[in-house]
């Protein structure tokens, strides 16, 4: 089994901030827009080094999305920054018409995604954003798992021409992927090889899945762990190949199970006649609430314990087929 070591907890948003600064230095067309959350989005260094390419729009996210769309006319590459809730739900129609339908090269970069935003509570914790964004034709949807991957993804999406939703988070979480990784949009990553059950995870749940796989191995169960950073377009091959082998799957995401990664996978399975037991680790059609990230992840069962339970469940269901 592959070993993954945590090189130290770091927030994914800082990976974004560091990469944005690097892009500022390497690509003169990259511009950044922020709606009064420069510090939270880690955009301060970009702002300080490239003030003429940093647009502070104030608390006016709708205007920010429109300005970003317009800035692409003349070859600028805008990166917008605010919380996930205000990056999607608040401005859905602006993104839909001025960015997605108009096919503008805007990178919508969303921090504080999911329940790990923590104490601010449900008004700020969006658990529907993946669903909202994946439903938009032409939108690429990425949810990174750690600091290094967020940094790599931020650099990579600047080279891709088209609208992208990049989702990352607030808390410091294990940083375990390769510092110099090659990030490929739409390409899943097999982290652990296994034959008994497939765990497909995105974002903060990837580390939890690795922990779950270690525990399962101690029980004699070989779990295959796949890191899906790109939810749309989904890497179909890596998932189908894996369930050919394991005949069971657990999807894991810090998102409502309605509209998220798991739902995309279930459609894939049905369409390809790969009917197999599947369980969903995610928030079950509810809003979040206040609490520490750790308390919330435990309360809503977004943790390795629940992943293990769900793996045992799909394995037992296999026998019924």
């Amino acid at each position: 089994m592959n070993e993954f070591s945590n090189t130290g907890n770091k927030d994914t948003r800082s990976g974004f901030g560091v990469a944005l600064l690097e892009l500022g230095r390497t690509n003169p067309n990259v511009v950044a827009l922020c709606a009064d959350l420069t510090g939270s989005l880690k955009m301060n260094e970009f702002k300080n080094e490239f003030p003429e390419r940093f647009i502070q729009v104030g608390i006016a996210e709708a205007n920010m999305m429109g300005i970003a769309a317009g800035m692409t006319i003349g070859e600028k590459i805008p990166f917008t920054g605010t919380f996930a809730n205000f990056s999607t739900g608040r401005v859905y129609d602006q993104i839909r018409q001025s960015i997605a339908y108009s096919n503008k090269n805007v990178k919508i970069c969303a921090s504080h995604a999911g329940i790990t935003l923590g104490e601010d509570g449900a008004t700020h914790q969006i658990l529907e954003d993946i669903g909202l964004m994946k439903m938009l034709p032409g939108m690429t949807v990425i949810n990174t798992c750690d600091y290094n991957q967020t940094k790599a993804a931020t650099i990579e999406i600047s080279k891709y021409n088209g609208p992208v939703y990049l989702r990352f988070g607030r808390p410091k979480v294990p940083n375990f992927t390769d510092e110099n990784q090659n990030f490929e949009i739409g390409k899943g990553i097999k982290l652990i090889e296994g034959s008994d059950v497939t765990i497909v995870a995105t974002g903060h749940l990837v580390w939890e899945s690795i922990s779950a796989a270690k525990d399962l191995l101690s029980r004699g169960i070989n779990a295959e762990v796949i890191n899906i950073h790109t939810i749309k377009p989904l890497d179909k091959d890596i998932i189908l190949k894996s369930i050919n082998k394991t005949n069971s799957l657990v999807s894991c995401e810090e998102h409502n199970i309605l509209g998220g990664l798991g739902e995309s996978i279930s459609r894939l399975i049905v369409q390809n006649n790969k009917l197999c037991p599947m369980e969903f680790v995610g928030v079950n059609d509810s809003f979040g609430e206040s609490g520490t990230p750790e308390q919330l992840m435990n309360k809503y069962k977004l943790n390795s314990e629940n992943i293990i339970d769900k793996c045992l469940k799909v394995i037992s269901r296999k026998k019924l087929i």
């Binding site: 006016a60 429109g66 300005i67 769309a69 317009g70 800035m71 006319i73 003349g74 129609d93 339908y101």
Partner: protein, 278 residues
């Protein structure tokens, strides 16, 4: 009759025939802004011959109130962006001339989708910022409906533009004082637009008769002379909905209703063919 007046009448004919052809679309606002479009595209804007999305080193135009697409499409076709015969496909299946303008079908001349109201000013400001970053001293023009100003995003944009000295943008408000449900003052009164814009730090011009080509040209040129002075510019353009067709003028009834064949005949008689019909 001069070339501009010929164009105005021909664009009116195009609008009327397009909406009649599919029994849908928005003739009232289109006819009210016909003179503005003709003047802007044929007398004011610095335009490159070949359409490129990036619009570098040329003036840009964004239509925020996308429902008046008939006048936009006719003007673009008459300006050579695509064949005039394509106007016959307006609102039909598989057409590049969708009910509301879009970049999605690759129609030359269109740089943003519009239809869901209130988004155009933000987009135009973005394009204007990029022009500044690119050291491109061209101007960004826009058109907005007056009722459209009820959308809150406009006021975010209006506040932003003055605070950030976006002085290479000239926004025009089609002030016909009507919207679908009736007179604006009855639906949701806009108050004094001139005072509102000036208190937000904009330079305000007014076109008293927005259906007079000479006055439109004079005021836009004056506005252009004021660009580059650290302030955004708005032109409040008083227009008559349905201008040029007597039974459509001065009522909101024709906002989104197409004339039937008999009504079309009467309207076209009032606007005899000047150039060649599509």
């Amino acid at each position: 009759m001069n070339e501009l007046e010929n164009l105005v009448i021909q664009v009116r004919r195009d609008i009327l025939r397009m909406v009649n052809n599919v029994k849908s679309g928005h003739p009232g606002g289109s006819l009210g802004c016909t003179e503005f479009f003709v003047v802007l595209f044929f007398k004011i804007m610095k335009r490159n011959e070949k359409f490129e999305m990036n619009g570098k080193n040329e003036d840009l135009f964004f239509l925020s109130n996308g429902h008046i697409s008939p006048v936009y499409y006719s003007t673009l076709a008459r300006a050579g962006y695509f064949p005039v015969k394509e106007l016959n496909t307006f609102r039909k299946i598989n057409s590049r001339l969708q009910g509301h303008p879009t970049t999605h079908e690759g129609l030359p001349g269109i740089r943003i989708a519009s239809g869901s109201l209130g988004q155009g000013m933000s987009v135009a400001i973005g394009a204007a910022i990029t022009k500044k970053l690119n050291k491109d001293d061209s101007i960004v023009y826009t058109l907005h409906g007056d009722g459209e100003l009820q959308e809150g995003q406009n006021w975010e944009a209006i506040m932003f533009a003055s605070a950030n000295k976006i002085d290479n943008i000239i926004c025009t408000i089609d002030y016909n004082q009507k919207q679908i449900d009736g007179d604006i003052k009855d639906v949701l009164d806009l108050g004094d637009l001139k005072i509102k814009f000036s208190s937000f730090g904009w330079i305000v011009f007014e076109i008293k008769n927005g259906n007079n080509v000479k006055e439109i040209e004079d005021i836009i040129l004056k506005a252009k002379n004021e660009s580059g002075n650290g302030k955004p510019i708005v032109i409040i353009m008083n227009t008559t909905m349905g201008n040029g067709v007597d039974y459509m003028m001065g009522t909101h009834k024709w906002h989104g209703v197409a004339p039937n064949d008999e009504e079309l005949r009467i309207a076209l008689d009032q606007n005899p063919e000047t150039l060649i019909d599509y």
